[in-house]
Symmetry: C3
Subunit: 338 residues, 3 copies
């Protein structure tokens, strides 16, 4: 397969600077691409490579044309345009429709015609699988789960009973949706289980990264809004709600009943306490520690980055002496006043 | 199914205030429940909803009766009583006994009669599955594993060779128990593997959350005491021991050979160093960093919560200048003395 | 099976002090081992047990002979020697060659003769499985994956399309290699997917712990160098590269396009930002927060360990007042100068 720059420019709503009939066959990074490859410049850090790239063409944001020595496609947002061009050139591998003979489907599951169910899959009673869905090898769809049109469930995923998955959702391998939330009550020193009877409801166009876990609600549902993008190894507790188009990077933990707004961006490794509220439009940098509600949009951070170990050790000691330092300064101020 | 308040009150050892013959069919939260639903008040934050709830009845702790306008069940501990009532009304879905034809059991596995083994399961040689156990779809029970009476292994769980699971244990999807610990020795710059020949021994009534991992011991066993409750995505290194009735929230990492006492409560995202000891009755708040043994019961914390990013940036700089500030204050004190 | 101390000493390149014909049958820790067991002393913390151990023999590093009252094998590095002795005595359980009837292999997969493929496995089109490989129950090998000689893939592992695994690699249960990286572009508030078309390339002699995830590259590959050892629940973003013989402890998160050098040691729970570079020979202590490139080898740390909660609370307040304290001290200095 190959595409002319004119074809790609039209697809991404851009202007060709150079030869519109130039043909490319693949994408590549600025430093690795060759003459048959299309590259892009979205991060100014890499602008220096524009002069020396061997790429056959480069997608750039308007304003970057001057530095280049190759064909360009000039657009409003180079990264969005690259995403679209790459999606044109590399459509997601679509599993063939059909049910693998080694899969097991309960006779009372309702599976649409145009569905792909891979080897070693289990689909339990009452599950509803809509048209265009594919379910990867080894995945388990428990009783009364519903999966919306054109959603892609990859390998070794577990969707627990009654979980509701929207349309065009992508769920990567190892994800567990709808396991019991951590509901326990202390009965005179021993912990007894609180039944977890809510569901998980996942909106349309959500993507969920590998080995992420989303617990079912205790009574009401856990709800992930449409367009939310979750990276790998995220843990979402029971009754959490996440607003539309929020993105969350890897290794984030969100405790039960936290409510996250829409259009938020949460950095990797962040921890969010339970029973708090975060308004729309909040950004948290990586490894943030959130213990209280956030009531205003904006960027928030926490954590002290690394230092050489010796210096770190000294600073930790100083930190613990701070309170005394305040007293010393107060005393100095008093003395000086006297 | 429906229950009278008298029935429920008897089950939870409470007193009905209102109509003991009132019938309820389900549970619900104070704000969402309707006339056929039973709710509860366990967190004072939600007490304000007691006056306006449409719930048919509410379980409350003695003392909260005055605010309510609906039927009550008054108990000593509302959350424990709710847990019991909900368990009565929503018994854990019990898989039907029987072995699914797509499961594979080694002929030398010893499987009791009254067991449920789901689709796509593997049970290897020498495994022993006691009465009343259920094993979910896609799970793997390796050689010589033993699973005690009435334990519930959910979908896509891996129990590695020789792991010992107690009675009434619940293991959620994606859990891996008994993978090799991180035992490596540095042989002149290259790392060689140290065989991991211990087991994992899980006590009775333990619950283990989705995608949690518990490594086998290097020589002796890794041991999880009875009644321990583990949330999702916890990592427990080789030869860790955890005392009875300790609870651990999600995303906690415990390095090898750490020993955790009984009746501890460990907040989410906490990291615990290897080869240390934590006594009984320790509480750690979320995201704690534990580098040394804890020798006294009590509550411990670490971490500095988020601030607006600009302020955070300034404070990190100040933190790094602290040592100099101490010098400046010492100098001031000296000068003032002179 | 049993071994004489002479046999073991020869295998580990050590000297017997005591009876070279003494026979041992197993290994054990200094405190637990009996007369038929071999123990070792690698951590000085445990040296006190040397006088009282009931072990039939102990491997020690030269210099520790004096304290012992049992047979010794004296070596240069007791832990390396123990690793070798234990590997001799406990060879990794080797799965029998053969393809389980419940496994499903695509007819176009290329599987060498001397391979073990367990129950419920899926091997897709174009996959290449070299001699001596074993693949555990429930694992999924997607299209065009290649697994090198003598590698061991445990249970419920997912190797996504085109992933390349070297020789003698060990991959523990629940690992996901080659899921899509977190590539999204913000198209006027909505996030669109950026196709992830790179692969993951894993070098020889790598070991990967349970439930770890390694994402495929966005365009170029994600690369794990030979001899790298990864613990459990590590998350590695797209286009990360890790140099040879680096070790990483559990629960570490590495964001996209970070480049980690060779011979590094990264403590558990560490977070590493994307698009940064860490040179060879860097050590990071547990829970480190790395936001910038590290350009010099050495030991780095961050994080403030726990304190009693009351003290922690006070110190957090003090931390937030630091900036004002600096102003107060500056004012004091000025006044004193005046």
């Amino acid at each position: 397969m190959s595409w002319t720059l004119a074809q790609i420019a039209q697809h991404v709503n851009g202007q060709v600077v150079g030869d519109p009939e130039y043909r490319i066959r693949a994408v590549g990074t600025l430093t690795q691409a060759g003459p048959e490859q299309l590259s892009f410049l979205a991060n100014n850090k890499y602008r220096k490579f524009l002069a020396t790239t061997r790429a056959g063409a480069v997608i750039v944001t308007a304003g970057a044309e001057t530095d280049a020595n190759t064909n360009l496609i000039v657009v409003e947002d180079a990264y969005v345009a690259y995403a679209r061009a790459a999606t044109l050139m590399y459509p997601l591998p679509k599993a063939e429709a059909g049910i693998h003979p080694s899969a097991w489907l309960h006779p009372d599951a309702r599976v649409a015609d145009n569905v792909s169910i891979a080897a070693q899959v289990t689909v339990e009673q009452g599950a509803v699988i809509a048209e265009g869905v594919s379910i990867g090898p080894g995945s388990v769809v428990e009783a009364n789960v519903s999966v919306g049109r054109d959603s892609v469930i990859k390998a070794n995923v577990t969707l627990c009973r009654e979980v509701q998955i929207g349309e065009r959702v992508v769920i990567h391998p190892g994800v567990v949706i709808g396991a019991d939330g951590f509901g326990i009550a202390n009965d005179q020193g021993r912990w007894i289980k609180v039944p977890q009877i809510g569901r998980v409801v996942i909106g349309d166009d959500v993507e969920i990264g590998a080995n992420t876990t989303i617990d079912r609600g205790a009574i009401d549902d856990t709800v992930i809004g449409q367009g939310v993008k979750l990276d790998n190894q995220i843990q979402i507790g029971h009754n959490v709600t996440i607003g539309e188009h929020t993105v969350i990077a890897g290794c984030v933990g969100i405790a039960g009943s936290a409510h996250i707004g829409s259009y938020c961006a949460i950095g990797g490794g962040t921890g969010i306490a339970g029973h708090i509220e975060i308004v729309d439009g909040v950004q948290l940098t990586g490894m943030s520690m959130v213990t209280k509600s956030i009531t205003e949009a904006g960027v928030y951070s926490s954590g002290i980055p690394i230092e050489p170990a010796r210096q770190w050790h000294k600073n930790v000691i100083r930190y613990r002496q701070m309170d005394k330092l305040f007293e010393r300064v107060t005393l100095l101020e008093k003395r000086l006043k006297d």
